[in-house]
Symmetry: C2
Subunit: 330 residues, 2 copies
């Protein structure tokens, strides 16, 4: 269908080499032949074939982004950051939703390998041994976002979950709360589960408040698990005055549960979230939460992936955004 570089060469009365040169604007031709070539490119409606290019260059200007879900504002915002600079740098992004399913992850890794992507951004999920091995075998740059690994030396971009969690819990304590429930991610989750629980425990401990297992409920970061966990928690330890949810979505779940149960937030129950996605701004009442620079993390991820030099992991800053879901008890 489309015309090729050979067609252009023939019509313009030059060789394919020359056409290639003007396309990639290298040197080695008169201004006149350049005009001529450009003109016939226009006439024939020629567009270069990136596949053929990729074959010889061994570069596809394509990166793969692996993420465990598409339906959370965190992922959207991150994807937005990634796409924005990828487009600026003229890279395409292949979307890989692993759905937190290991076999899907490996399938996608295989596809990305076959498609010869120039790099991979791996988001949020725990990096299993097998994933890591596949990626080092691919010999292309990899950067991790919101996760990390000891086993391989891929650079990562994330916030210090334990510290952020400590900050959130301490904030509640400063506001006079002592009976603080927590809604965590999956218990065994080494990336967004365990470290945040550690921060919570440490904050409690530093304030002389004993930690008790029954103050923690386990969700999956999504809304519904938030309402379910809120119910569970408020039945088990009804005297709590505050809850720290490790995602905004789950925090919104507790808001919803409280609304239905006739519990007023923040008057009877304070709630703090995590992420500062737009969900937090949209909540009623507006949600106090830990801000992560999500968009920026996406941006940095692509820049790091594309930078030729040595890649240093970066810990991003976070801060509390005070809105209206936490009440001071003093």
């Amino acid at each position: 269908m489309g015309s090729t570089i050979k067609d252009v060469a023939r019509y313009a009365g030059v060789s394919v080499a020359t056409v290639s040169r003007v396309i990639n604007n290298l040197s080695g031709y008169t201004e006149e032949t350049r005009k001529q070539v450009l003109r016939t490119i226009e006439e024939l409606g020629y567009t270069p074939n990136a596949i053929a290019r990729g074959l010889v260059n061994k570069k596809t200007s394509t990166i793969g982004v692996l993420l465990p879900s598409l339906t959370s504002k965190f992922m959207n915002e991150l994807l937005n950051g990634i796409e924005s600079v990828a487009h600026k740098r003229e890279k395409s992004v292949i979307l890989c939703n692993t759905d937190t399913d290991g076999s899907r992850t490996e399938q996608y890794l295989k596809v990305l390998n076959e498609k010869q992507v120039d790099g991979i951004i791996f988001v949020s999920e725990w990096l299993k041994e097998s994933y890591g091995q596949i990626m080092v075998d691919m010999k292309i740059p990899v950067v991790l976002v919101s996760t990390y690994t000891y086993r391989f030396n891929f650079p990562y971009i994330r916030v210090d979950d334990t510290k952020a969690s400590y900050t959130a819990t301490s904030y509640l304590i400063e506001k006079g709360h002592r009976e603080i429930g927590m809604i965590s991610g999956r218990r065994g989750d080494p990336v967004a589960g365990y470290p945040r629980i550690e921060g919570y425990k440490k904050a409690l401990n530093d304030a002389g408040i004993p930690f008790r297992e029954e103050y923690i409920a386990y969700g999956d970061f999504h809304y519904r698990s938030g309402v379910k966990s809120a119910e569970e928690l408020l039945k088990r330890v009804p005297h709590i005055t505050a809850v720290f949810a490790t995602s905004d979505e789950m925090a919104l779940g507790v808001l919803s549960y409280a609304y239905r149960a006739g519990i007023s937030v923040p008057d009877e129950l304070s709630v703090i979230g995590y992420d500062d996605t737009q969900d937090a701004e949209m909540a009623i009442p507006p949600l106090t939460t830990i801000h992560q620079p999500i968009f920026e993390m996406g941006v940095r991820a692509v820049e790091m992936l594309l930078s030729p030099g040595g890649k240093e992991s970066v810990i991003m800053p976070y801060h509390i955004v005070e809105r209206e879901s936490v009440k001071s008890l003093q």
Copy 2:
């Protein structure tokens, strides 16, 4: 780095043709040579190069998805549907966020053309003449989602916006409301703006309620424009008892504004949304809204794109989901 089909051929003591045959499992070899080839593939850790394949096959197993935004639950859910079946059918998706920016759209179209994608899904945006022309020149399948065109014969998948909007407005009327505000998309938007206004007008008219321009505020489907429009509307026509927002996000905006202004929803103001994204479920109070089968629309889009036969446009069903943001006045 990676080994090629030639390496496999050499090590296995066969020709590249034979290796190719067993990889694509065609016929023309003994069970024995098949074993042998498979074994050396394993040993060498060979993986086929999809780029080289694409060059000769003129198929890349890749589709492009163009959408105007990444940060709305509508797009997420749609993308989720698209990705889910694309992966099942072994197609990769290239993400193209046009950001409702025409030049970005044309850039992306050019990239998709060069990258030889097998098809394009074009979402939500109005299909300009130039976009359409580029796509017909590409001679690959295109399907439109949540938009349409008279000018080209690309099939579309969408719900009947005018009818759905009529239904939403009529629902409010049935509940006894007569002073009904509307928050619409951009006035000139031929896809999600104008048609929905028409439905609103018609419902009013059929109920004998005069239409007045000042009952309409114009947003951009996003949250902030929702709160801004709510403020505008409630200052201009404070006696309204209900508002119909043409996206859930904007509806949440009015919920937020009402909350801040001390207006109780639904007691003092009823709100109905559009889309039935998860935002509606998460809202406080839970949002009554028009349900669109968004995920399913993504699924159908990919299936239609990949189906070889003639492609018939489809109008998807919608329905009202009654939650708690609308009060009956009788």
